[in-house]
Symmetry: C2
Amino acid sequence: MKSLLIVAHGSRKMASNDEVRQLTDRIKNKINSEFDFITPAFLELAEPSIPDGLRQCIDAGSSDITVLPYFLSAGRHVTEDIPSEVQSVSQAHPDIKIHITPHIGGIEQLADLMIEQVTIQ
Amino acid sequence: MKSLLIVAHGSRKMASNDEVRQLTDRIKNKINSEFDFITPAFLELAEPSIPDGLRQCIDAGSSDITVLPYFLSAGRHVTEDIPSEVQSVSQAHPDIKIHITPHIGGIEQLADLMIEQVTIQ
């Protein structure tokens, strides 16, 4: 059973966190075969935390979890903080496979999406 | 003559600003007919500023500028700060058409890109 955890920074503004939750819901509605469980998680300032989100995936029966960092920049949050939070859960559950994908800003096709956005106006 | 200004937040980390500059270059290489001039700009902490970036576009001969906010969340920066910076230049140049597109997090197809990212591993 596979899970997808979409990890955002988290904000003091509830509306920003809700944006991430709504995007997660949109993805959930579009993708129904690949992942059995999809949930957002936040590095800080909102719930669930990354460890809590991962535990939700494990509690849902997942043995294979994909973590997608919803960040544009490969700053410390992406290169250190998220891997460290993931590792804390990973060490306690060595039987669970957890894979972190490139962050949004690191997706090669993002340039194409932006080009589409500015040329189809 | 049309210009594209890719507006990021800007960071104290030079590498993060360079990521935006590299993305701008990738877009520049992929899209050569639609825009005559493409440049990044930063809300704060890096150069050029949004007004300076817009003035570069105008100096390059543009009368039609598209501003693409490189932000994931529709926070104050996207809803207030960028429009306000754009307006300051717009008021001084009423003959120049400046259009702000939805931010990256507001692009409908971003969900599809994320799905592609997690399913083609």
